[in-house]
């Protein structure tokens, strides 16, 4: 056990898996000697060698495509894309091959790969380094999409993702990389893909979030609770396949729901959750589901990021609004 942050937890997961399974390889830009621009792969190069911890040329489509080929031929590649803003270059490979290889070959070929990447705004980063376009991935049948919000979930979910027989897009909230520490086993353990987690039970309002939104969600829930609004807090954790069951059954009890989405409003994951709540719990709703999201604008550069990135206050006020509806 050690008290570690998310970066170290991810590193520990990778080290465990490289150790446990000789078919696991890590590849990406600067993942080798440099240990990754966020240090997630730190030390792995020295420990497992250049053949298994692979510094690639600067070519994202090739990183994804090579990972697919490796996975089809017996390896379990864990590819890193340096920032989500550069992952669009991989979409042709992911949509046209990774997600559908099992289906199009009727199971003859499978693609047990993981594509990791940091995502999200709020760290005063360069242009294109703050994207949260997760719904691009969530809408692709055949992909799984995972987003941890804590060090423990990060390690457990990453190990599950690496052992998963299907391609998993693994999103790491940049903002949470070093935000908190947890006591975590050095040995491998798993957190199941496809299961949302209820962080806090409540009776008045369900608040749902994922990734970097969770600390804000918890803060808002605490503020609301202090004023007598009992909040149930759900960390979605897996965006695809989405555990809407947990959300829907919570909303059936509370009748009210706020969804916290870092991405712009339109066609995000929040819309999908609202659609499912509409379909399965409409009669339980006592107020319209509120989604608190970024506006439908380009992620601003740091001097304007307050117009984009949510804060706990906006969430808190949404909770009050639905509670008082």
């Amino acid at each position: 056990m050690a008290l570690i942050n998310m970066v170290s937890a991810l590193n520990s997961a990778l080290a465990n898996m490289l150790e446990e399974d000789p078919s696991v390889v890590v590849l990406g830009e600067d993942v080798g000697k440099d240990g990754g621009v966020f240090r997630v792969t730190d030390g792995l190069f020295n420990r497992f060698g250049a053949e298994r911890v692979i510094d690639t040329p600067l070519a994202e489509a090739a990183i994804a495509g090579m990972a697919i080929g490796m996975a089809m031929n017996g390896l379990r590649p864990v590819a890193e894309i340096q920032f989500m803003g550069f992952s669009y270059l991989t979409l042709n490979q992911l949509i046209s091959h990774a997600s559908r290889m099992r289906n199009r070959s009727r199971g003859r070929f499978t693609v047990p790969m993981v594509m990791r990447m940091p995502y999200g705004a709020g760290v005063k980063a360069l242009e294109h380094h703050s994207e949260s376009t997760e719904s691009l991935y969530v809408q692709i049948p055949g992909l799984k999409v995972v987003v941890p919000s804590t060090p423990r979930d990060a390690k457990g979910l990453l190990i599950s993702a690496i052992r998963d027989p299907d391609p998993v897009v693994f999103l790491e909230p940049t903002r949470s990389y070093r935000l908190m520490k947890e006591e975590i086993e050095d040995t491998p353990f798993t957190v199941p893909i496809g299961e949302a987690k209820t962080l806090r039970s409540g009776t008045d309002v369900t608040i749902v979030g994922w990734g970097a939104m969770m600390p804000l969600v918890v803060k808002a829930a605490e503020a609301a609770s202090a004023e007598g609004i009992s909040c149930e807090v759900i960390d979605l954790r897996t965006l695809s396949p989405m555990d809407s069951e947990t959300v829907v059954s919570s909303v059936k009890r509370t009748g009210r729901c706020v969804i916290s989405q870092e991405a712009p409003r339109t066609c995000g994951v929040a819309a999908e959750l609202i659609a499912r709540i509409n379909e399965e719990a409409l009669l339980s709703l006592e107020a319209p589901v509120e989604r608190v999201t970024a506006p439908d604008i380009i992620v601003p550069l740091p001097k304007g990021e307050q117009y984009y990135y949510l804060n706990a206050n906006r969430l808190y006020r949404a909770v009050k609004k639905v509670a008082e509806f």
Binding site: A62, M66, M70, N73, N92, N103, R106, T110
Partner: protein, 361 residues
């Protein structure tokens, strides 16, 4: 090294058999045993027959849009023959002869173009990836496959194909560049059939040859007469040896021609000259190979006729089998999305099953 003698910057093209089937470089003639040569010729004929049948079936509505292979048989077969059975083959969509050699059953081939995913479930042990329709997208995958084999020191090579048009795609570049960096055991064959639908090779790139693009990636390229089975064979053989020795990839430009339309939806007369087609018809790889076989005493007219008849019979049988093959079920359309069906998908499936039960209105 052929790749040195035929440095693409010199513009020379490797040829063993000339247009009439004469051996022009006897010292390069591969020592193929007769059985292998006969199997090769039979495979070319079978490819031609299946291809023609597919075109007819498409016209009759029995098969979907289809990309004819006519004229390109040697360009995929020669390379396939130069690899071992368990070496990988990563094809695009116009490599029928090579597929047949590698053990892809005709049934699979037909099923795929008839619109059934079962077509791409090749038998275990046949290390061939499914067709890759998005042009050039198969190439980075071929590099990953090769990396994995090399990591396990298997000594396998990965033979991949793409068209001349594919060389313009970014994924072509990334694949070849990475293969150069990792010295993976890849053989990249470009079937330069002079056209990418209506766009001529000259508009695809200003480089005088496609083979010379290898120089951008730090490995060797070679321009080969793609309608010459023997030339394609020896070029690939050298590349395979290099790859197996850990000396990295090779680029082979197979200079050939698409005698048919781009697909059955295309009418090539709209954009290319009759005259060009006529000239290339004279270079038909089957005609050339037949002459070679006859000259070697391995074939006579009646033997040839038997081979064609055999191929036709096999094709009819294959078609019958394919047409009798069960259509996919509702469950088939769902169950291969993931290894295990997520609950929400199962719900969707059951809902759809109910919906469809009620019948079309």
């Amino acid at each position: 090294m052929l790749t040195d003698e035929y440095d693409p910057h010199g513009g020379r093209m490797l040829q063993v058999l000339d247009q009439s089937g004469q051996v022009v470089r006897p010292e390069l003639e591969p020592k193929l045993d007769n059985a292998k040569l006969q199997r090769a010729y039979r495979t070319m004929v079978l490819s031609r027959v299946v291809d023609e049948k597919a075109i007819i079936m498409q016209r009759q509505g029995r098969l979907g849009a289809y990309p004819p292979n006519r004229g390109q048989e040697a360009a995929s077969l020669g390379p396939a023959m130069a690899t071992e059975t368990d070496d990988w083959m990563v094809w695009a969509f116009r490599e029928l002869a090579g597929l047949l050699w590698k053990g892809v059953p005709m049934l699979n081939y037909l099923l795929y173009w008839m619109g059934n995913e079962e077509g791409s479930r090749y038998p275990e042990g046949v290390n061939v990836t499914p067709a890759a329709i998005p042009v050039a997208s198969q190439l980075p995958i071929a590099v990953g496959i090769a990396y994995a084999s090399a990591l396990r020191r298997e000594g396998k090579v990965v033979l991949s194909f793409c068209g001349d048009g594919a060389t313009s795609e970014g994924e072509f570049h990334e694949a070849l560049n990475n293969a150069g960096v990792f010295r993976t055991p890849n053989i990249f064959v470009i079937q330069n059939n002079q056209w990418a639908i209506s766009v001529p090779r000259s508009r695809q790139t200003a480089a005088p040859t496609l083979a010379q693009k290898a120089c951008a990636y730090g490995f060797k390229g070679i321009l080969v007469d793609g309608n010459d089975l023997l030339a394609m064979y020896i070029a690939t053989q050298e590349a395979a040896e290099r790859a197996r020795k850990g000396e990295g990839p090779t680029l082979i430009e197979a200079y050939t021609y698409r005698l048919g339309n781009h697909t059955t939806s295309d009418d090539a007369r709209k954009y290319r000259e009759e005259q060009e087609l006529r000239e290339w018809e004279l270079r038909d790889p089957l005609v050339r190979m037949k002459a070679y076989m006859v000259a070697k005493g391995l074939l006579d007219e009646s033997g040839d006729e038997a081979i064609w008849n055999e191929a036709r019979a096999a094709t009819e049988k294959g078609v019958e089998e394919a047409e009798g093959f069960p259509a996919p079920t509702l469950e088939d359309a769902f169950k291969f999305t993931y290894a295990e069906m997520p609950p929400s998908l199962r719900t969707e499936m059951e809902r759809l099953r109910d919906d469809l039960k009620e019948g079309e209105r």
